[in-house]
């Protein structure tokens, strides 16, 4: 936080006398000021000779801080924002759309968790294709396990729009769809932070471009980036994990994206599996979906573990993305 003397230029009330007074209470930066009890400070200022000026200085600081917090929103503002900006992205599978109340909701972080080879990556590819074809939006796919398969995307795109012939003319719509899905390989959590910040800057600087917007951000899988740093001696891994969650939720809310992340399962007590990344991660995604795949019948079952407006425990099945 800024030291008090950096405010001196803009706000002449925060002069050297005021700073000396604050220093006598151990306040050197704005952070110290926030932590200090304001009433104690005011009563101590009363006892000084320049009490009037000092109290003006305190009020000045308080008003600066007041101006910096986010504007208050009423419930009505939120409802209007939700109706106007935060509709749901259809996933391409009717059963799952019905399960999720329309699909992946913009402004929310959805997590797909499941054991190995249960269909998480396939679900991500399918949802990405639907977002690019049906909703004409950009999709950003962050891939950590080299599992992004453009052939599968082309397959799903072909499924929704009918058979694709080898004719050159037919490649145009497929190319348009595939051009909207942007894939980036990340192998490091710091690299992902870099990317997300870069994305934030890109989105903010092009606020008014309305023809084609980013609609879906997929991170497959976020757990493989967090597992190498989680646990251990220090709390940094934990802090980084929560920062990632915070950044994803901020991106989703401010720029009206749907965020989809995948997570894996680990063995819990008494042999049952549980989602990885621990207890603190449970609060991060808005919606958590458990996937399981029945090998014999190749049916993939999606069941809700957590949802802000639906009962958990409801499930829907989808044939396992026939190959």
């Amino acid at each position: 936080m800024a030291p008090l003397k950096s405010l001196q230029q803009e706000y002449p009330l925060v002069d050297s006398g005021f700073q000396a007074f604050c220093a006598s209470h151990g306040i050197f930066s704005v952070e110290d000021f926030l932590l200090y009890d304001v009433d104690v400070l005011i009563s101590s200022a009363d006892k000084q000779s320049t009490s009037q000026r000092l109290k003006q200085g305190i009020n000045q600081l308080l008003s600066i801080i007041d101006a910096l917090h986010r504007p208050l929103l009423t419930g009505l503002n939120l409802l209007e924002d939700s109706k106007r900006n935060k509709h749901a992205l259809s996933t391409g599978c009717q059963g799952i759309d019905a399960l999720l109340g329309g699909g992946l909701r913009l402004g929310q972080v959805t997590e797909l968790v499941g054991p190995s080879s249960s269909g998480k990556t396939q679900a991500c590819l399918q949802f990405a294709t639907t977002a690019a074809t049906k909703h004409i939006g950009f999709v950003i796919y962050l891939d950590t396990c080299n599992a992004f398969s453009p052939q599968r995307i082309a397959h799903y795109a072909g499924q929704s729009s009918g058979p694709v012939s080898n004719d050159q003319a037919d490649h145009k719509p497929l190319q348009q769809v595939l051009d909207r899905i942007i894939c980036y390989s990340v192998f490091n959590i710091f690299q992902m932070f870099d990317l997300l910040h870069q994305l934030e800057i890109n989105l903010r600087s092009q606020m008014f471009k309305s023809d084609c917007q980013v609609r879906l951000l997929i991170v497959d899988s976020v757990s493989s980036l967090i597992t190498p740093i989680l646990g251990g001696s220090g709390p940094q891994g934990h802090a980084l994990m929560i920062s990632v969650g915070f950044l994803l939720k901020k991106l989703a809310h401010e720029h009206n994206l749907a965020v989809l992340v995948t997570n894996h399962m680990v063995g819990g007590d008494s042999g049952t599996s549980k989602p990885a990344l621990g207890e603190s991660w449970k609060t991060v995604p808005h919606v958590r979906i458990l996937l399981s795949r029945d090998r014999e019948s190749n049916i993939c079952t999606f069941s809700i573990i957590k949802h802000p407006s639906m009962a958990s425990g409801r499930a829907a099945s989808c044939p396992f993305w026939d190959r």
Binding site: P115, C145, N146, F148, L178, N202
Partner: protein, 329 residues
Amino acid sequence: MEKKESSREIGEERIIALEGTDLDVSESGASEILKYVSQFSRLDGSSRSPATFDGAQTAWTMLSEEKFLPCITTSCLDLDNILGGGIRCREVTEIGGVPGIGKTQIGIQLAVNVQIPIEYGGLGGQAIYIDTEGSFMMERVLQIAEACVEDLSEYGHLRKDAQDSQVKMHPNNVLQNIFYFRVCSYTEQIALVNYLDKFVTEHKSVKIIILDSVTFHFRQEFDDMARRTRLLSEMALKFMKLSKKFGLAVVMLNQVTTKLIDGSFQLALALGDSWSHMCTNRIILYWNSNERFAFIDKSPSLKSASASYSVTSRGIRNSTSSSKRIKMM
């Protein structure tokens, strides 16, 4: 056009020069600057979408790349068929099975097959073989290499347009093109993985890395399972990065262990649940009435299928049993 290009460059230079100093710019001012710069870069004709950053690729460019991505044959036609041509480059494949099923044999076969010249449909590359158990037998490699060269020259004779029927592959050269590393502890293994980036940058024709086996040094002497998971996941990410960056295939051989599933002990691949998520593809080798089978357990683009293969004196080959057929799941 040129004027705009030069003014953009000047603008960028100025911004880079300012980077070192502490700027007194408010947040709105900073975003104005960035908007201005991005406007210039958009004016040069390329259609920048709101989402592109350096290094990103659209699915369309990746589609054409994926079609022409080379595969490394396993010398067994059935196995190649279910794998869509062979072991794919740019992906990390885990192969696991019980002892004696032929994991090391497959590893050695792949180390030889990656060197098949391009004229014969191979990659003409080199191999890195990381041996943790000491199961790499030089005599066996020589045997497989000789058999491979013999098969290729036979194929060369059958080709009608073969101008040069002499195969440019010699068994001694085959041995020369396999870089062998022996690791004796998990720290050596991790140190080697860190070193591989530099090594492959210097030896650009390496096209496959075989790790036999990834499990060995991580099974014993680990009291802290959480630490083991962290180390393994870090190692897996490094392999993923290597395979993507240099376009090579990474094959990791894994052992099996018993696991308590639904009240009974069953065979499962070692290294736990977290490890099973860290590969791109997984192939499980198993016995079925005296025959060896390979089953695709995990793949982003291949069907689940199993095929039989056999281990012969010439290497991995098709199974000679008459009842062999590719079983689709």
